[in-house]
């Protein structure tokens, strides 16, 4: 099983990695329990930054597509197939859309929403 990235593509590299691994799981090219290469190996083979691969792996782990078992390495999650169909980004967009619509119905302006959203994000960072 091979993985490829296009370094000139508009999609970020970590997104390309996530999409391809999910696609490989859905197409049964890789099965639950299969081992994945280490972050270092994949980053060096693709000649990309280690942080990019680490970010892709972190998001795949969050989505329940892969799981890291300490020093033994990274493996495909037992429920990877079901979890690969869930797109958290789309879910976030639809939830935000619902919330924004309800705010609009209450007469809250876009700038008020933006200020509130930014202050919430900033307070979490701090």
């Amino acid at each position: 099983m091979k993985i490829s990235v296009n370094i000139e593509h508009s999609n970020p590299l970590f997104t390309q990695l996530i999409e391809q691994i999910k696609k490989a799981v859905l197409n049964n090219d890789i099965a639950a329990g299969d081992a994945l290469p280490s972050i270092r190996q994949l980053a060096n083979d693709l000649d990309i930054n280690h942080k990019t691969v680490a970010k892709a792996y972190r998001l795949l782990e969050r989505d329940g597509v892969i799981q890291t078992k300490g020093y033994r390495g990274t493996f495909i999650h037992q429920n990877a197939k079901e979890n690969s169909t869930i797109n958290l980004n789309e879910w976030v967009l639809s939830e935000l859309d619902k919330t924004l619509t309800s705010f609009r119905e209450l007469g809250i302006t876009e700038s008020e929403m933006r200020i509130a959203f930014n202050s919430l994000i900033n307070s979490r960072h701090n």
């Binding site: 091979k2 993985i3 490829s4 296009n6 290469p37 280490s38 060096n44 693709l46 000649d47 990309i48």
Partner: protein, 278 residues
């Protein structure tokens, strides 16, 4: 007297094998590869002009000729003076210094190869990068008995050193020998790690070719670990029996056998050259 003559013959062998036979075979492999894969059909194989490549190979040839001349001069001085030691100095020191001198052309060729691959990466305009989605593991490339042999030879060397700590002989360096062989093993282990998980230097190399190359390099690194620890143990045993001169001869023979083995495993004919076409 007989051991002097044996040392001269072995030293001549070392000059011949490392600075004549091996470089000639390497140049032969490179020239054959260039003839069979010309620039107009395989342009990606040539990030440099053929003339520049030939000029660099000529420098390699000149370096080796110089090494051969120095080696023959040392031998001639030893024979003319009927000296007990090579060139009137300590045999081991001469063999070691000369070996380092013999490595210079190899280092030059290695550095040129490194630059060559760097240029290949710079010229590579392909925006698609491909990798295997399987982890590489050490035992995909070598067998467990082979690695066990390396562990055994390390153990044998350590036990030999510990024995001579109990029953030392004149000139025995003590536990530093264990430190030396441990540093060597750590270095070779790091080399194996880099080969397994390190950067891909040739951007066009196929996974299959990389796998073959990784197998060869890892085998050679482990073999050199085995040879080094066994050599150290044997040389200690010979030194304790006051047969240091025989140790020098074995050392030189070891190197020659190793170089022969390296050439046997270095093959370019299995390489997939189609990736270098337009």
């Amino acid at each position: 007297m007989w051991d002097n003559h044996l040392l001269y013959i072995v030293f001549l062998g070392q000059i011949f094998v490392i600075s004549f036979y091996f470089p000639k075979k390497i140049l032969g492999l490179i020239n054959t590869s260039m003839q069979q894969h010309p620039r107009d059909v395989y342009p990606k194989l040539y990030p440099l002009d053929e003339e520049v490549i030939k000029a660099k190979l000529k420098i390699f040839n000149v370096y080796n000729s110089l090494v051969v001349s120095v080696g023959l001069a040392i031998l001639a001085v030893s024979i003319i003076n009927n000296s007990d030691d090579l060139a009137g100095w300590d045999d081991q020191a001469v063999l070691l210094c000369f070996l380092m001198f013999q490595y210079f052309p190899m280092l030059y060729l290695g550095a040129q190869g490194f630059d060559y691959l760097k240029l290949m990466r710079e010229h590579n305009k392909n925006e698609h990068r491909i990798a295997d989605l399987q982890p590489r593991k050490l035992f995909d490339f070598i067998s467990k008995p082979f690695l066990s042999a390396a562990a055994f030879s390390y153990g044998f060397c350590v036990v030999t050193v510990l024995y001579f700590v109990q029953y030392p002989f004149d000139g025995f360096a003590g536990l530093v020998n264990i430190l030396g062989v441990s540093i060597l093993y750590a270095g070779l282990g790091f080399g194996i790690y880099i080969k397994l998980y390190g950067k891909k230097y040739n951007p066009l190399q196929t996974s299959e070719d990389r796998s073959i190359e990784t197998t060869i390099v890892i085998k050679l690194l482990i073999l050199s670990a085995i040879c080094s620890s066994f050599y150290l143990a044997i040389s200690l045993i010979l030194a304790s029996m006051d047969m240091r001169d025989l140790g020098n001869i074995i050392y030189s023979l070891y190197l020659q056998a190793f170089i022969f083995y390296v050439y046997q495993v270095m093959k370019f004919d299995q390489v997939d050259y189609s990736v270098y076409k337009t």
